[in-house]
């Protein structure tokens, strides 16, 4: 079964038949709750990195998978059609802000003083749904949004040109996190040779990204270095369960066609406990995580459902303590 799924997504990626950007649909049936069966084998992230990195060129490649890039290139044109295939992503976007606020409110310490504006780094920004919205918030100083796909970034830039309010706050860079110069330890030492400042960020976001990355462990470590002490690393992804396989791969992609074929590689899904384990292993850097499970209810959109992080889509946030 797995090999055939993988085969499908390779073919689609090559010929660009895909119709929607990445999104993971959890149906009401899923919420109603078959038990969250863990499909065998429950690998740790590290174990999976080791097995997978055999087939991928290891140099500078915590994030970029060429197949994934070509898949999303094919989706570029429909990214901003609100009635089009990326509707579910547009609908999810407000919840991302709710979750970030929940994270920031959960902690007594923060990277910014009250009234001070925030700096965001959005990794794997795609067409810029989150990046634009973050840049529009009155509490935002700047948003740096990066994506390795040239085509999608062209769409993002063209779309951002439609809103004059974004020109001063939003910067797109066609880079991977590996290409982005590491931040200097002191905020005063800015690298003036690149287009971006290399001070750290209050929020580093990886929305629906980690499941498309080959080497999640190295990727998270790299992204974490861009977070200010007191700032937050925020991500959203989907649990690797039978339910998520059923809803995202079989129903959403193969049966309804709501999400383009080849968007998801279920083998790359990462479970919430695996992420917890990962950050627990770096206690000198990261605090206790905040988690927020969400379910897509047809006709109503995305809703927070306690405990659903074990089953399907979830948000995950950790604060950098030093």
């Amino acid at each position: 079964m797995r090999s055939s799924l993988r085969h499908t997504r390779r073919v689609v990626a090559r010929y660009g038949h895909a119709r929607t950007p990445c999104s993971h649909l959890q149906s009401r049936a899923a919420a109603a709750g078959q038990p969250a069966t863990q499909p065998p084998p429950a690998q740790t992230i590290t174990a999976r990195i080791q097995t997978r990195s055999l087939s991928i060129s290891p140099s500078r490649s915590s994030s970029v998978n060429p197949e994934e890039i070509s898949h999303f290139n094919a989706l570029a044109s429909s990214w901003w059609d609100p009635l089009g295939p990326s509707r579910v992503l547009h609908q999810m976007n407000p919840l991302r802000h709710d979750f970030i606020r929940q994270c920031q409110n959960s902690s007594a310490t923060s990277s910014f003083a009250p009234g001070q504006k925030l700096r965001y780094l959005d990794v794997g920004c795609g067409g810029g749904i989150f990046a634009e919205s973050a840049a529009r918030l009155p509490t935002t100083e700047s948003v740096t949004a990066i994506d390795p796909s040239t085509e999608i970034l062209a769409v993002a830039r063209r779309h951002a040109a439609r809103d004059p309010a974004l020109s001063t706050t939003l910067t797109y860079l066609n880079k991977t996190i590996d290409d982005l110069p590491l931040p200097t330890t002191s905020a005063t030492q800015e690298d003036t040779t690149t287009t971006t400042t290399t001070t750290r960020f209050d929020v580093v976001s990886l929305f629906e990204v980690i499941e498309h990355v080959d080497n999640p462990s190295a990727f998270l470590d790299r992204c974490g270095q861009f977070v200010k002490p007191g700032g937050w690393l925020i991500l959203s992804t989907i649990a690797r369960t039978w339910t998520s396989w059923f809803t995202t791969n079989l129903v959403a992609e193969d049966i309804i066609g709501m999400v383009p074929k080849g968007t998801h590689d279920w083998n790359k899904y990462i479970n919430e406990h695996e992420l917890r384990e990962f950050f627990r292993g770096r206690p000198e850097w990261w605090g206790a995580p905040q988690v927020f499970g969400v379910v897509y209810v047809p006709g109503l959109g995305w809703k927070e459902v306690k405990g659903s992080e074990k089953v399907g889509n979830y948000f995950f946030g950790v604060q950098r303590i030093q």
């Binding site: 609100p82 407000p94 918030l137 004059p164």
Partner: protein
Amino acid sequence: MDAVVRARTAAYICRSCTRRFQLQRRQQRTFASASAAKPDIYDVVCVGGGPAGLSLLTALRSSPVTSHLRIALVEAQDLAKIRSWKLPPDRFSNRCSSLTPSSAQFLDTIGAWDHLKRERVQAYHEMQVWDGVTDARIEFDWAPGTAPSAGTTIAYMTENLNLTSGLLSRLEELGGVSVFDSARVERISFGEETEELDLSEWPVVQLAGGKQLYARLLVGADGANSPVRSFAGIEAKGWDYDRHGVVATLELEGEGWGGDQMKIAYQRFLPTGPVAMLPMPGNYSTLVWSTTPENASLLKSLSAKDFTAMVNAAFRLSPTDLQFMHTQESGQAEEVSWRLEQTPFSRQAVPQTVTGVQEGTIASFPLKMRHADTYIGERVALVGDAAHTIHPLAGQGLNQGQGDVQSLAKTIEYAVSHGQDLGSRMSLEPYLSERYAANHVLLGVCDKLHKVYSVGSGPLVPLRSLGLNAVNALGPLKSFLMNQAAGNGIKVF
């Protein structure tokens, strides 16, 4: 020449290709005028400074979430005149509206309620509704146990000018709105695309004199013939009732049967349409008489004495008598006085006798039912009469507008706090889904009520008197109608 060429090419080229041509043409034009001034960009441009438009802007300005938005108001009238509107305490404007407690609550939330001349606002606590043909009656007082307390307010009667003047006063206190009044909208078009900025989907309101306002969101609060709605290509469907609403400010023999603390609204369904008398402060009431255009023009031509007599007759005499008197050019006062002697009626079941009508307050306007196909488009939202026009028989027109505004303001607030582009259709969708169905049901109910009761004879008449009596007996349905009047929302549907 240009048009001919375009028409010809269009015949040979598919739509998307012609669109591309047009885009190129537009770009050329842009480069030619590249030296033009920087566009004047607003987050919200509201066309129309009536109750709906002013409430929306007040709501946006008074909320900490949206108070930073750049807002413009475009209005054809001179707003300074409305702002300084003042009448002596014994004079009332003829255009009044019934504000439900939820509308009043909303106005209070946005800080406008205190800016109304409150001594000119009249609460009422009871409604008397009956059928002019059969005399079947609904008494709209609160059933025992359902009312929060005795004398609970059903609604507040307010002069429209008192409301707009109060809103302007509150808006002035809040500040921060660019007001373009006494302004004529010359045209509404789209912006242009340059290399850095693509405003080709942004509405641009061009005022007479050349001022151009770019709108992230263009709000049509510009009435039943909304130019904003036409610009957005949204159709409004419906029909004319072939009826006019005759309004006037009436002086009565007293404060009403219930005194100052228990004011009553009256409505009688005549075959020509409902006639309503709604209490204003003191001995005053406001009249809304829906009738045929011919009757309306006759009523407007009568002397004050004959007009007053006709209003008294409308609540007391039989439809046949009334019909006859509408054929007389004058002398109604004498006709009414002797006919009343022959007609048995319970004095306290009808409003107190009207003793006079204030000079210059008799006017009329045509009644229609309209509902726009949608309230939103890309960077466009419609509120109030631009979105819907309702028969006045339930006094819901203004309240529907307030409901729209409350919902739209909430929708904009959510968009702003989540970084959405507040003008995008996606951001506006919650407003549409919250208001469209609710308004549609209410439009339909009022339309049906008008139609059922606009018949003088035939099979509908006994049926409807049965209906009205049955309504009076049926607790749940009656409380639905009551709650509707009081703006507690549609619970039955």
